[in-house]
Symmetry: D2
Subunit: 345 residues, 4 copies
């Protein structure tokens, strides 16, 4: 950690800063430049918290040279992690193909969509039973009934299932039905919920918040990892942007940027990132080309009747075509796509 | 609601759109321009959800001309609401002076800070017992012990108290101790938590999320109001910006922009908005000049020892000076500042 | 165009709006809803300027349903344009491989870089002679001497050359030396400069401004096109973002989003978009996968000695590897890469 | 300057970095921590350019501890500068009241507006003769004829005049007519234009670019100052934001943030910052409360007939009311408002 002192700092202030550093069991290393004095701080990682020093009189800035996350870092785990979702691998050269409707709406619809996306090559089924909606008057999801339908549909078609949890009181229930638990973008910094899913034994799909930096995302992953759950898959799903042309701004560079810092797999969600069916295909391919470990796409067989997010869903035939393009690209890049398990029905 | 059709829309598509509109009990009003055809949609508000129509083939765009929030709107309540926090009024010409440390750290420190801010003119005391921290390794707050200290300190100094809740399972506990419940920026779209505080009888201080639009903020207020709790105070605390000069970007225009749309009081939090003690004063005054109904400021008597956010706290003597400037400005603007209650000790 | 009136609009105000509409030779089409009154406005495109109507009393909003650009739109030119840069095609299935140093620094260095990038498959050479630098004290480029070196190097290696112009008084000079003229991001809304390059006969590479929407970009292209120069190539080079992890935020979705609106080719510049050599490769591939018509990459044989932007340049051997990956991806997507012309030396 | 080395840096790399530092006449000061090695670099300011060192192998990051601007910094000029526009003072406790239409449209209209704003207390008249318009088909201004009208109107009413220049070839012409030259937001990084106005003898009003940081703004001011023109007034006019509620995001904290770094006066432009007449007043007052040295407001006597930006103009009577509020606030804050000169007519 480096403490940069203000230009007019007094000797008494410098002395006080050094005393504060040493009082925490750290060592201070003074270095006087022509224009500025800096203090290098050395010692135990857990004590090196920049915020502690920023408020000391005479301090201009404090610069951390170590990442604040540990378990999520490449230092802790230099090889890419492979997360196993009931047999489907994500990461380390394995590409996940997650598809399904925004919300579980009925057993019949779920069955039809699952059948089609599996035939197109999807290996994980998604569907929301609890929906985070901006409006209290909008459709909020089927609840536990939706979880049951999702579970049965996944079992029937041999697809592991992923679904979102919003309430720490329902983590146990969702864990019972799902093979992978999703934390939505709006809850990426719901630390109570992160702590709760960190205590489960199911892999977690952690979506990046709309105004979260990559470091913020990794810190949220750290919350889960630090509870003992090692299976976190990150997801880039677009950040807040200024151009109304797209619903969010798809930050494709976040994919390789995360890989430089962390061993965790990262997938892309072009459905939420763009909010436009005509951009989902190009952005899905862009994500895979940039090194993503999976693609998460909303598919609906009748978007105009969808209870939520219909406008951004692909039709089954559109997904089929895109899935073929993704497979061709994955083959070029030497990626493997785990097959879905044998169909039970 | 207005549905704008694509330029090459077919007659069959137009017919289908109109059928969908009418199937929901709404009326369609067709209007053919030189370049574009539009359909005006008239009928029951609750059915007028744009997303339902955006996915219909031939539809280019759907424009809502009514706000999606109802209870929060000026239409529902044309006069500014006044929220009463144990005798301290906020809104409708009444200015709240909320001050205190980021976190409750000890009874002694809390007592000293409360004494000083009350002497300076603060009328509500703040202090966090549960802290949302980006890092799982950072200080997380004193928990219920902190709530007790806050309560006792407030009672001793005749100041109502506000504190944050992060966990829906602890809303009941926080409600027992606090006079006003705070929802932090990271939880502005934690709809589970909003619903829970909507069921309490305590006023809620709802902070704007870092990437939330003003409409998003009002929609979150609507979650609380729609549960039966009418006492919501909005808070502008900075949105995500691109300039590292400030921690967030203080959107002072949000204050008058909210007042055009809603009857709810709105206060400003220049501490979090700027993250810099040297900018808190100017931004606090800017907020009041723009029409804010209160100012929320972090004050600490030893920022360098603060367990969290020390660098952005004002010293008691800095707060005293600023409070004087705020009072002078409030007087110029004709605002009233409710006195704190008589000191019990 | 649709004029939405305020909820409490009076009959006199409605009458006045209609009079204003008709006074401009347009027709008004009144439509009264339960909650809102709207006026459809029909007539000559050039009169349909929303800003003219927004200030009329009683008007809540004015919505344009036609794009403000004409020549750049797909309506005007439904097939993708192919821009020919001295034999190298860009657009309509043809991929440009633009490479070279940020700045022309010397004939020797330029020669070495040109030789290597051509061997790796580049088909257009870049190099700046006039550099837009944030600081007046930073290196500003070699000026005309740099243009001469660039020209001679391009001729020697059979590569067309592209270089930036910043000053309308130097457009003629740059046109004399260059095969393609670049407008930098900071000048995307320098309308004087756009008008000037619109009068040349050379293709223009128009970079997207850091806070420009896609519509803003197309409007700037329209400035050039409306002067009679039909050869504009757009370039996505990252927009302003909030995450310091990357220099800018690479908006890869802008590539397919532009193609939905315009016939103009669009390329990507991952060097400026990310500012990090380790992200250039993944983002270049992402751009091509998303449908870009070319890739613009900075290459330097000794980044640490570069006069500007060294940190974001690839080494020649890194470019060679990436160019191979781009070619493989282009082949998969059925794209053609125009060969550079025969080497003259 | 501090060079932070990568965690796995080799001794040979460290040696090479130190050699590079010393080859530029600078001194290197090595400091080895537990986890990271850093090198402090000391020496002549002009050689301390971080970009030069970022590309050296083994370097993780380079941190500048000195501002890159010199003449604009408080170090160079510890007292606030006072810019004198033909007798009207801006800065150092003096508040400018700049008002007028977006564009000069006719002598009659200009005369009427000038008369009314002067009566309301404005002390500088604004009006554009060359308009930067997003669309090539929109009104582009009256040109030199507009400059003449502006000059004559200013003389008649005893108001100095400010107007925008967009073209370096017209700086001389604009200088002849205007008392203060405006650089618009879109040209804040048009370095050619900045250099040109730096050579004039007229004060410059430099508007902040839509995605410019405060440091970028000061660097652009430095371009002007370094040419020998000491009279620069900065202007905060809103940056790009994500909320469509306002045209731009008014960054009021930029006012005090600039004052911490620079001696240059800074004014606010709530007209462009918000784009909404109903928010101009509150934001103007917010700017003054935050310490702004002036307020720039667009006023038009018939907004619905304005050739540009009508919707964001105040009516003369609205300006009159606001000017009174600004004066009351200025009095409270101890600010002086220079009177306009004696009326010549």
């Amino acid at each position: 950690m480096i403490i940069i002192l203000k230009s007019g700092v007094t000797d008494a202030q410098i002395k006080h800063v050094i005393e504060r550093v040493e009082s925490l069991g750290l060592r201070a290393h003074l270095s006087c430049g022509t224009h500025r004095t800096i203090i290098g701080v050395i010692g135990d990682k857990s004590q090196l918290q920049p915020a502690r020093f920023q408020a000391i009189p005479g301090v201009a800035d404090v610069i951390s040279v170590l990442p604040s996350y540990k378990l999520a870092s490449l230092d802790a785990h230099p090889e890419p992690s492979i997360v196993n979702v009931k047999g489907v691998k994500i990461g380390g050269g394995n590409l996940a193909m997650i598809a399904g409707p925004c919300a579980v709406e009925s057993a019949e619809r779920m069955d039809a969509i699952a059948k089609s996306v599996r035939a197109s090559g999807a290996n994980i089924l998604r569907g929301g039973a609890f929906k985070p909606r901006t409006s209290p008057y909008a459709y909020q999801g089927m609840g536990e009934e939706g979880l049951k339908i999702l579970r049965e549909t996944g079992d029937k078609h041999g697809l592991p299932v992923v679904t979102e949890v919003m309430d720490p009181r329902r983590v146990e229930m969702v864990e019972r039905y799902a093979d992978m638990i999703q934390i939505g973008a709006r809850n990426m910094q719901n630390f109570v919920l992160l702590t709760e899913v960190g205590s489960t034994k199911k892999p977690v799909l952690l979506k990046r918040g709309m105004s979260a930096t990559i470091v913020d995302l990794l810190m949220s992953a750290e919350y889960i990892l630090s509870q003992g759950n090692p299976d976190v898959v990150l997801c880039e799903r677009g950040v807040k942007g200024f151009d109304p042309a797209t619903r969010n701004l798809f930050d494709v560079a976040a994919v390789p940027a995360c890989k430089v810092l962390s061993h965790l797999p990262i997938i892309v969600d072009p459905s939420h990132a763009t909010g436009r069916p005509d951009l989902i295909g190009p952005c899905a391919l862009a994500g895979v080309a940039a090194g993503a470990d999976g693609v998460h796409i909303e598919v609906h067989n009748c978007p105009e009747e969808a209870m939520s997010d219909g406008p951004q869903a692909l039709l089954p035939e559109q997904y089929q075509q895109l899935a073929g393009q993704i497979r061709a690209l994955a083959a070029l890049l030497g990626k493997t796509i785990s097959p879905a398990a044998g169909c039970k029905s």
